[in-house]
Assembly symmetry: C2
Homo-oligomer: 207 residues x 2
DNA sequence: GGCGATATCCCTGAAATCAGCCATTTTTAA
DNA sequence: TTAAAAATGGCTGATTTCAGGGATATCGCC
């Protein structure tokens, strides 16, 4: 019997997943959790074989959750469920310890296949995700850049329309420092304006 | 017997919804559609009493779809399902002809209640949505501003990091015209920079 | 056919951003 | 504990955006 736990904050989706897994005799749902904190704890206590993890949770970012899990547990198989069809997001999640990536608009069978692949030690991608990763989009990021705490803070304030001077004042730092962060962000995202940075960060769910 | 049709591009969600509605004898699912075009057609041909409509569809924007439906059909009850918890988005959908708004993280019962309310002629909001609409956030938009085609185009190019001059060149118009559009956008969104415009537009799913 | 919305174009000056460099201190993690 | 990463601060000059005014043309819908 393969122990699966579900982490998703949408009751309707949870219902659909439970239904789907119920069609498979070899799978048993050991627990359902609607937020990251509860899910993280459950992974440690319940020791499931597989986790179906919604990437967009209310409390914790899915990518960070994957990393958290992987710190202690190298064995549990994580299947990421997400609506994000952007390559950098997909790659980032896979690099964070997930053993599979299934877009939410996939059919149920893809989830079953992802579970089976993961248990065999393979990484499963749903058709659409595989397609996205295969096509080389020029001028697009390969990965989500690593953003520091301060940089994220700066992004947030810039996105609200604050100027460099206003941000410096609010954070009690020099305008030069703020400019330095801006420049690093522009470089990390490989664009030429902060506007483009904010667009990508918002799209990727970093803000 | 109340005829319901479902429009959602996530098979798992569809499954959960079907399950939910099956628990109610007075409700019958007359059809399931995974995109806006098919759904729109079905509303005209099947003449359902209620439509459960996912706002984020691959082909058509949910708001536009509501408006489309309302052009011909004043009677059908539309329950909008969405992950958007931003007030302007919620208000906009309600103003576009929806008879109810249920966030995707709501429990199933809220959908049932939404259907019942809508059939009685009331507009139902899930608890979370009601909460969001009630709290007056200062400095936040009340509604999503009306954006013209050209303005949307400008937003797209600005968000990619193009300068006014580059945009003007690409669209074969004067830089003055581009600046004019920028200014109008900044005013419409009630902010001071295009960066803030792009943040909101991305967040609201306008790009 | 006409009205309203949309798109177009123009000017000036102040303010802000970006590109190009660099250097030091403080955290954080191995 | 020590090396790497992050945060801090600095300068100059060119480029770009923003705020404040306008005006005219064109498109779509009733």
């Amino acid at each position: 019997m393969i122990k699966v736990i579900l982490i998703d904050d949408h009751p309707i989706v949870m219902e659909g997943l439970k239904n789907l897994l119920a069609t498979r005799e070899e799978l048993t749902v050991a627990g359902c959790f609607s937020n990251g904190a509860a899910g993280l704890e459950a992974i440690q206590t319940l020791q499931p074989d597989v986790v179906l993890l919604d990437i967009n949770l209310p409390d914790i970012n899915g990518i960070d959750l994957c990393k958290q899990v992987r710190k202690n547990d190298k064995d549990v198989r994580i299947i990421a469920l997400s609506v994000h069809n952007e390559r950098p997001v997909i790659k980032n999640i896979l690099n964070s310890g997930a053993n599979g990536y299934v877009l939410k608009n996939s059919v149920g069978e893809e989830i079953i296949m992802a579970i089976n692949s993961a248990l065999k030690g393979d990484t499963y991608l749903c058709n659409a995700a595989r397609e996205i990763l295969s096509q080389i989009q020029e001028g697009e990021l390969t990965d989500i850049p690593k953003i520091t705490r301060r940089e994220k803070e700066i992004m947030g304030l810039v996105s609200k329309g604050l100027t460099t001077a206003q941000i410096a004042e609010q954070l009690f730092i020099s305008t030069h420092t703020v400019e330095s962060h801006r420049k690093n962000l522009i470089e990390k995202f490989d664009v030429t304006t902060m506007t483009a940075v904010i667009k990508l960060a918002t799209q990727y769910g970093l803000l």
